[in-house]
């Protein structure tokens, strides 16, 4: 976790470096959206210690389930202006399917189960964001397979 802005391109470049047995790296970058001017700032709150441990448990689950060789997760906390990266996930595997699916699984978890709380501030004030039905459906896909 980091309070400072990070460069997802740089993170991906470093993640790909010196891999001789990895055939596939998949990555996802989530950016803060302006929502046509309705969001001027996002604020992400975490529970230090607990949040890292919970993410680590799901990372281990993804490694075991999809046979991943390596995972990198970067998550911003604190105030985040539109256009900046909130989250970055990269997965490495011998073949592409495992890399894609592991990345997808981890993002669905991060969206609706990881211990973060997200507040959106705009011209009409601030509101706390809770997982949508769509987020819950996305996560449920992994429970039925």
């Amino acid at each position: 976790m980091t309070q400072a802005p990070f460069d997802p391109g740089l993170a991906l470049g470093e993640f790909c470096r010196d891999r001789r047995e990895t055939g596939a790296v998949a990555s996802f970058t989530g950016l803060a959206r302006a929502e046509a001017g309705q969001t001027t700032l996002l604020e992400l709150e975490a529970y230090p210690g607990f949040t890292e441990r919970e993410i680590g448990r799901h990372e281990a689950a993804a490694v075991a389930r999809f046979g991943l060789q390596d995972v990198l997760i970067i998550h911003r906390t604190g105030p985040i202006p539109p256009g900046e990266a909130i989250v970055f996930v990269a997965t490495a595997a011998p073949h592409r399917r495992a890399a894609f699916e592991g990345c997808d699984f981890l993002m669905d978890y991060l969206k609706s189960r990881a211990p973060f709380w997200k507040k959106e501030t705009g011209p009409d004030g601030a509101r706390w964001i809770e997982p949508t039905d769509r987020d819950r459906d996305d996560l449920a896909r992994w429970e039925t397979q």
Partner: protein, 76 residues
């Protein structure tokens, strides 16, 4: 006791030392002091962690125990 997300807004604070011998005792003290916060903590979607482990039932608390109330989570 730690509050996160909208619960901290409801209470107007996010961290406090409160003497309590159990989770039920802690909830009782909150109910007496701030019924609005007590009600917010009772919502089914709010989860409870004691010393950074999720709990679902009442548990006893030791001096220094950390109790956190966690509203619905949303990252990414």
């Amino acid at each position: 006791m730690l509050l996160f997300g909208r619960l901290a807004d409801v209470a107007g604070w996010r961290e406090r030392d409160i003497p309590a011998s159990s989770l039920a005792d802690l909830r009782g003290r909150i109910a007496a002091e701030d019924p609005t916060l007590f009600e917010a903590l009772q919502a089914p979607a709010v989860r409870t962690a004691v010393d950074q482990e999720m709990v679902t039932l009442d548990v006893s608390l030791q001096p220094g125990s950390e109790v956190a109330f966690l509203p619905p989570m949303s990252g990414g």
